[in-house]
Structures are given as C-alpha cells and as structure tokens.
C-alpha cells in the first residue's frame, strides 16, 4: 500500500512526456554566464577578475555568510568580465562572464565512471567537503546542503529522507537520474547518513515512476539500510513537510523546521551531487535539466553546465516554436516564467518548460462562490479564499492569525479554483509582507 500525506493535495495530469529521453550531454556554449547568486542566502563573493584563466571546477565565488554557498566554474577559459547581469526575472545579479575555451578540468576532479563505495571520512569532513564543493539543495529551494546537514545544537536527526517524488508535472530530471545513476544516488545517501550519524534512510518515490522504484530495488541487497518508499501520486508530495508526513507519519508543526521533528530531507539530485563532491571531488556546476513541452518536436533531458544562456539552449533544441507562449523555469506548478531569455541557467535549474497559449492562458477571474475547493486542496490546512480576501485589503494582523506564513506556495488553491481567482499571487505577496513585519519585531 503506497503512502501519502493526509491533508489536501491535487492530482494534475502528470504529463511526463520526456521520461523516455535519456540524459544527453549538452554542448559547451561559447560564453558562460556564471551567477554569484545560485543559492538561497547571501550571494557569493567573486574571487576572480577579468583576464584570469579558469579551469572547470575552479572556485569563482566564495561564500559570504553562514547561509551562502561557493560557486565554481563550469567552464574553462578566460574571465571576460565580472559585472551585474539580469537573471531570469530581470534582477541584476553579479555574474562572472567566461569566454569558453576547450574543456580543461582541474586535475583534482576524478572524471572516471568507477563507483567509489568506501566512505573513509568522518562526519565533519563530509560536511566540510560538501561546503567546499558548493552543494545546494536541487529540489528547488537551493538551500546550502552543508547547513542542512549540520543540525543546530540540541536537535538530532532521526530520519534522512531522499526526495524522489518529483510530483511536479512535466519534470523528469530526477527520474532520469534515478534510472541512470542509481548507485551514485545510493552511495550519496550513505554519505549523508554518515554525516548525520544515522543508520537508516528512506527514498520516497511516487508510484507513477515504477521503473525508478524497481531500478533502485535491484540494489536492495547491497544497501539494506536504505528503504525505498513508494508513494501514492499526489501533488505536492515533494514538499518537504508533505514528504515527511507521507514517509514518517510525523507532522511538522506550524513555524517549525523539519529538524524539529527529527527529519532531514534531501533531493535525489543533491544526493548524487554529494556523492560526486565527496567521492570524486567534483564541485556542483552541472545538473540534469529537462527541456520539455507539448509544442517541442523532441523532448530532452540534458546534463547541462550552470551558466548556459537560456536562448542558446532553446536554439539547440530547434528554436522556440511559434505556438509557444510562455517559457517556465521549473515545473508548471511552482516554476517561474522566464522574462529574460538572455539569462543563464543556475545550479538549481531543473527544467525549461515551453507552454502554448492554450495551456497557459489565464481565464478571467470571477467572484468567489465559497465552494471551499481551495480549503480542501491546501496541503497546509489553510483557508486560501480567506487569505485572498484579507490580502487584498492588506489586513496583515488577521493574515498572521490565519497562519499565512505557513503557505508553501504550491499553487494547489489557484489550480483548483473554479472562479479562476489568482489566489496564490495574492497570498504569496501577503505572506512576504507578513513575514517582513514578523522579522522586524524584536526577538524575545
């Protein structure tokens, strides 16, 4: 019997049309644009200057602050400039521009395919290695992994959950990774177990990916300490709190972090990146990116260097089809529309989704009929219709009482609303306003 989380959730058509496209290496671009803000937290500080020659894997930016991550060069060549460039939302971000010349890697990186299973490092060595290699969570939030693997004093991890749910429609990068790099994933999981001092880990996979479940099941005998947990398909299963509920049955209380219930959740992509960092000394500078869309003649899963311009990717897959109306970075539920095609991909980019006008067109908003669909869809147990009403009036006190800060911005409410009210747009904004007020209060 597959498990799942109990509250809310929706069942969008999963549209995994690119699931059979094997991972291909994407050709190197002529120029690379490596952003210094590829993670949650403070942007990295550039340590190279124009004219420097860099190799693949060389440090370009050092972390500046506790929640920050190092940025390494995905390309070899000469640094052309270090200046602000617009990211995919148009915001200017400090970027190292590299004129790509060949593909020369640092000698310290092990580029062979042999799987290194022995983990001779101690917990603190592992965490230090992960921090050095600039590993960030690849599940979407790009939170620095080393921070997540060092629980605050007094708190102990009991569960390590590897997130292979990939509940967003269209995305298949994690799926391909599970199929094509299963052992790297399992060793990566063991490394993180060792870092946290755990004996057991769980990999949650939705049951619409039976091939991945059986592929990882083949290694059952060698990796008895890692349990594969099939999950019933439901969005947003990949949400940290939903996954914890589905796998362990524990509920993360309002305002609390997963570590408060003893859980640490890491994405499958992160597990593979951790494997590569610790065993192969390879910093995080490339990842699997799904290029998909019903209007595309061919679906792709690319191994892509972070810092490749979006327009050059689209050119490589045959240009933007005429009927394409919107390009989304990430999945259709939580992804962000790309407004600037000359922006570059980041470490955490999981997908580029091309949608037609018919698929994306917003229908005109009408009045709320109090049907309560959004309430039953909300996986956090909030009342989106009420938050929307309060948000439009700017009633921040009431919004706080209604726990607007618990919203995970999954978009279930907007998806399910029969009146086409852009609930999430309003709630996301109100949440930001309320959080700002809460943060400005003096701490007790």
């Amino acid at each position: 019997m597959s498990r799942t989380f109990s509250k809310g959730g929706i069942h969008p058509n999963d549209s995994k049309i690119s699931e059979n496209a094997a991972i291909e290496q994407f050709p190197l671009p002529e120029t690379g644009y490596v952003s210094m803000a590829q993670h949650l937290g403070a942007p990295a500080e550039p340590v190279v200057s124009p004219g420097d020659t860099v190799k693949v894997g060389q440090l370009l930016g050092k972390p500046s602050g506790f929640i920050s991550a190092a940025v390494h060069s995905p390309f070899s060549g000469t640094v052309k400039s270090v200046e602000p460039y617009a990211d995919l939302a148009g915001n200017k971000v400090m970027t190292v521009v590299i004129e790509v010349n060949g593909d020369e890697w640092l000698d310290t990186i092990d580029r062979t395919d042999t799987i290194v299973r022995e983990i001779p490092y101690s917990s603190s060595e592992i965490v230090a290695r992960i921090a050095e290699c600039g590993i960030v969570g690849l599940g979407g939030a790009t939170f620095p992994t080393n921070v997540k693997l060092s629980p605050p004093p007094g708190k102990k991890a009991e569960y390590l959950i590897i997130n292979g749910a990939e509940c967003e429609p269209f995305l298949t990068s994690d799926y391909r990774l599970m199929l094509e790099m299963p052992e790297q994933l399992l060793v990566g999981t063991r490394i993180m177990m060792k870092a946290l001092g755990l004996e057991k880990a769980y990999i949650g996979i939705e049951d619409n990916k039976p091939a991945a479940i059986s592929k990882l099941g083949e290694f059952r005998d060698q990796y008895r300490d890692i349990e594969i947990v099939p999950l019933k398909k439901k969005y947003p299963q990949g949400g940290e709190k939903q996954l914890i509920k589905a796998v362990t049955g524990r509920e993360v209380p309002s305002m609390a972090l997963p570590i408060d219930v003893g859980a640490v959740v890491q994405n499958v992509g992160t597990a593979v990146a951790v494997y590569e960092a610790v065993q192969k000394n390879k910093p995080l500078f490339e990842g699997i990116v799904t290029i998909t869309g019903r209007c595309l003649p061919q679906q792709h899963n690319f191994r892509l260097r972070a810092g490749t311009m979006i327009s050059s990717i689209l050119e490589a897959v045959g240009g933007i089809p005429d009927e394409c109306m919107k390009i989304i970075s990430g999945g259709p539920m939580m992804g962000k529309a790309v407004s600037n095609l000359s922006a570059a991909t980041l470490k955490g980019t999981s997908s580029l989704l091309l949608m037609t006008e018919k698929e994306t067109k917003r229908t005109e908003e009408s009045n709320c009929i109090r049907c309560g669909k959004c309430v039953s869809a909300c996986p956090m147990g909030l009342e989106p219709y009420l938050l929307n009403k309060l948000g439009r009036r700017g009633m921040t006190d009431e919004l706080e009482q209604e726990h607007v800060y618990d919203c995970i911005e999954c978009g279930c409410c907007s998806y399910t609303c029969p009146a086409n009210i852009p609930l999430l747009d309003v709630i996301r904004n109100s949440k930001a306003a309320v959080m700002k007020i809460m943060r400005s209060r003096p701490k007790k």
Partner: protein
C-alpha cells in the same frame, strides 16, 4: 388588554430606571477630553486619508492640541486654509506651506519603452514587482498596473490607456502621499506645485547606466550631467546616473529642458515658446504627457 398595559408600564419603568443608572454612571466615569480636539476636528476635511502621518483626522486633531505648536503638523488635504483656521482656533502660529502635487517620474510610454514580455498575472504593481522586473527592459519605471490609482481617495490619478502611465489631475490632487506609498517602484514624488502649476522635473527614475537605460527606454535619464552644468542655480544633482531637480532651488528657467538629450526633463503648464521650434516640440510634448 391587561397584558399590553403591564408590558408597556414595566418596560417604561425599566427604561426610566436604567436611564437614571446610566446617567450617574456617565457622570462618574466621564472621560475628560479637551474640547478643542472636537473643534479642530470639525475644521479638518474628514477624509481620514492618513496623508498627515496620523491614523485619521481625529488623531491629527489630538496631536495638534497636545503638541502646543503646529510646526510638525500639516494637513495636506486641507492645505494652508485649514491650517490657518486650526491655528485661529488654538491661538497658535502657522507657517504657510507651498502647495504640493504628486508627480510621476517616468516617461516610459509604449513608444519610448517597448515591451519585452507579456504579463498576465494579477493586476497589481506590488505583486508584479515581486515576481519580476516588469514587462519592459527598465527595472525602475512604471509597472502600469495602477496601484496608485486605487490608492488615491480623491480620484486624482487615472491611467492613460494610450501611454500606460498614470496621470495626476493637479486640481484634485491633495498631496496626501497615498500614491507615493502605494508605488512599489517609488516613482511618484510630492513636488512643489509651482506658480500657475508650472513645474520642471526629471520624468525618469532609472538608476541604470546611460547605455543600459537608453536601450530600455528612449526617454530615460542617462545621467549625462548636461542639465547639471546648464543649471544656473545649482538646483540639479546627478546621483546614481539619475538627475534630480531640487524644487526649492529651481527658478523654472527651463535651460535644463533644452539641454536634455533624451527629453527626460519635463516642463509642464508653461506657455509654448515661440523662438526655438525644436525645443518647443519637446516642451509641448511634456505638457501632453503629464
């Protein structure tokens, strides 16, 4: 019949008794309040717009009475007339303030500032600004979703559908500052209304470098400092690639308007110049747009 009489008599007696109780309670727990607060409040417009910085007109009146002077209090809606009436009631002095008006510091209309993407989200500047830098190349300019229009309690701002920019009605604007607070890009500024509503201002908020700003919008301030040099009164300063005219120093000579290579400096409500045909075009364009 008896029931009705009893009911009427009982209720009347009860009402009378409670009225007496209430009278004594009201006497006992009477809140002493300065009667001047009511007087001051009666002078105020009663819009409760918050333009003075207080929660409403009552709070403003209380503060006027409590402070004992009117140096820090000003009702922008009522203006000098209301302030002098308040001063009369309280027996205080008040300094005349020059009337202000909201000014939109952006000239990125559809021709000057081509759209680079299409926004189909919820129509709100604040939400649009939280999602991305907007549907044009400029990340400082007007987002055209009309948060200022809905913030205005006096109906003084309307969106011009042809330019996609808000327009302020000088006569209706009370300079309460609600639109200034509502604009997530801070492009609206309260400026001196000027004699006969004549004003000169930089209609741009872009802090991008000249080339970047110009690429996104042909009417952008490029920070070339020509106006700064041309100004005989030292009213213009250029900071972060953006010129700013200090309205307290500006003497409305309009030399900067002629100098500006992009037409980012607008002079409004001036009679058209006759001698120079090329600058006349720029000046009248300014009138049209603002």
């Amino acid at each position: 019949m008896n029931t009705i009489i009893f009911t009427v008599v009982t209720l009347s007696l009860l009402g009378l008794l409670l009225a007496v109780v209430l009278y004594f309670v009201a006497q006992k727990f009477k809140v002493e309040e300065d009667p001047r607060i009511d007087e001051v409040e009666s002078c105020l417009p009663g819009a409760n717009c918050g333009g003075c910085g207080y929660a409403g007109c009552r709070a403003f009146a209380e503060s006027c009475v409590k402070a004992g002077n009117l140096d820090n209090n000003f009702c922008p809606v009522g203006g000098n007339a209301v302030m002098s009436r308040i001063a009369g009631k309280l027996g205080l002095e008040v300094k005349e303030k020059a009337p202000m008006v909201a000014v939109v510091r952006c000239s990125g209309n559809c021709d000057n500032r081509p759209k680079t993407s299409f926004y189909d989200g919820y129509s709100s500047c604040r939400i649009k600004a939280s999602l991305y830098t907007g549907d044009t190349g400029c990340s400082f300019g007007c987002l055209s979703e009309g948060d200022c229009v809905s913030a205005c309690s006096f109906g003084a701002i309307r969106m011009n559908p042809n330019t996609g920019l808000p327009e302020v009605d000088d006569d209706l604007c009370t300079a309460c500052g609600a639109c200034v607070k509502a604009c997530p890009r801070s492009i609206i500024e309260l400026r001196n209304k000027g004699p006969k509503n004549r004003r000169v201002y930089v209609a741009c908020s872009s802090k991008d470098k000249g080339a970047v700003a110009r690429k996104a919008c042909s009417a952008a301030c490029i920070g070339c400092r020509k106006c700064e040099k041309a100004c005989p009164f030292g009213a213009i300063t250029v900071e972060n690639n953006l010129a700013y005219i200090d309205f307290n120093k500006c003497r409305l000579c309009r030399k900067c308007v002629d100098e500006c290579p992009t037409g980012a400096i607008h002079a409004v409500n001036f009679p058209p110049k006759v001698s120079r045909p090329d600058t006349e075009a720029a000046a009248t364009e300014g009138v049209k747009e603002s």
